[in-house]
Amino acid sequence: MEEKLYRILGESFKADIKTINDSSSPETIKEWDSFAGLMLVDKLEKEFNVKFTLNEVMDVKNVGDIKRHLRNHGIKI
């Protein structure tokens, strides 16, 4: 599952997967602006078949947060 998430992150932000870790954030990934972030939300929802809430999305500050919220929706990651 982690591999899948990293693949999506890599595609969404045109970033090298090897450079991504839990603390990766808009500060460390160049392409991660607010719009790209929302496109990522849409993509994650489809790929993992989940629906995030407004507050979950607002709460995300880094990749670790994304994993935490995916876990909330029953994804084993």
């Binding site: 607010s34 719009f35 929302l38 496109m39 939300v41 849409d42 995030f52 809430t53 999305v57 607002m58």
Partner: protein, 479 residues
Amino acid sequence: MSLPNKAKIALLAPFTIKGLDKALYEECKKIALDAEFFTAEYEKIYEEILSSQSDLKKFMPDISILLTDGESGDSRLPEREDIFIYDLKNLFFKYGKYNVVDDKLRYIGNIVVKPEYLPKLAHELMAYVKAKFSKNRKCIALDLDNTLWGGIVGEDGFEGIALDTKAPGNAYLEFQKSLLELNKRGIILAIASRNNYEDAIKVVREHPYMQLREDNFASIQIDWSDKVAQIKKIAEEVNIGLDSIVFFDDDALNRELVRQALPEVLVADMPKDPALYLRALKEINDFETLQSLRGIFTEEDLKRSEMYVAQRKANELKSQFSNMEDFLKSLEMKINIEKANDFTIPRIAQLTQKTNQFNLTTKRYAESDIRNFAKNQDFEVFSVDVKDKFGDHGIVGAFIAKNEGSKIVVDTFLLSCRVIGRNIENRMVEFIKEKAKERGASEIVGQYIPTPKNSICKDVYKNCGFGESENNLFKFEVA
């Protein structure tokens, strides 16, 4: 308007439309149109639209489309001739608002259309692009068996075909009703069917549930020649280009045949299931004009179908005459030339935008341009309408004359392709000569600007006694 190398399209929206330009670029590519974009979002659009020195103005768009989400109903945005408004409620109606909008994305990022619906939105906007760049189409060529009705009339018989209020006949019935609606607002219909003429025409004439009758078709090709030949014949009879035709046929082989032989024709992706015919028809957004997109239908639009049928009947009559003069006499034509007025200006503008063949200068004008000419002392704008024994053809010609000192310069001179070959142009030139005499002008100057499509009218002035000088200019000295 000559086709620009790159279409300049401005997209404006009070919400985020990032990615829409990319999606629209792909759609434009499908019709071989290279496009570049200008995008303005949120509050910035007011400044762009209202300021005279904005980046939008500098971009000099060929067309500007303003998207609204159907709810804000913003009064700050004026109705303007150079900006088209697309209301997202059309997209919502088609695909369901709950599918198109993710409210979470809307609250956080003002994204109203989810990314996966951007290609669909782009497809909707192509109606404007096609109309603007003259890539729209005027005529639908229709197969009969298994297209307008279920079954094969030659095998199943008049009573055996499916066309009534029960399934599956009702699917064909609704498809026909939708075609009839298009026909009423000016889309030309034609038949291209491989059939025994008597079998098929009997259904068209007598079947109680048939919605489209002989008088809805501008050309009727029912014989055993192939579809390619039939469609060519339709183009010839109706006098339109192949690139104005959309072809509907349930038979995949026929579709492929036409696609290969006549790439200009748009071959509709006909689904196998007749339940989906109606949807396939509604997905085709090639029939709009810049006016119809604003909900404006000129009288000519509404009468066009009738006029094309009148033309078919005139052509049938023509084949009975060996002498052109006798034929023209038998038509009992009445040509009326009058000064442009509020009722005729929209049609005159439409003619300058659409006429490609019999158009001596091919200058494209918006309604506002024509209105300005009509108001200007130095210009005179005239419309030409024609009646004959088969009906009223409405306004089929126009010309614009400019007074330059003692000269009269003909800026625009055009005739609809429907009435080419009736010597109406001679009457128009005579009229200009009479006017020139009245005004005491010394000379009339006409111009022929060649395009790939207008060679048919290159000799108009020569035939009317004008002398040719260089640069395709023709001069007539008023006695």
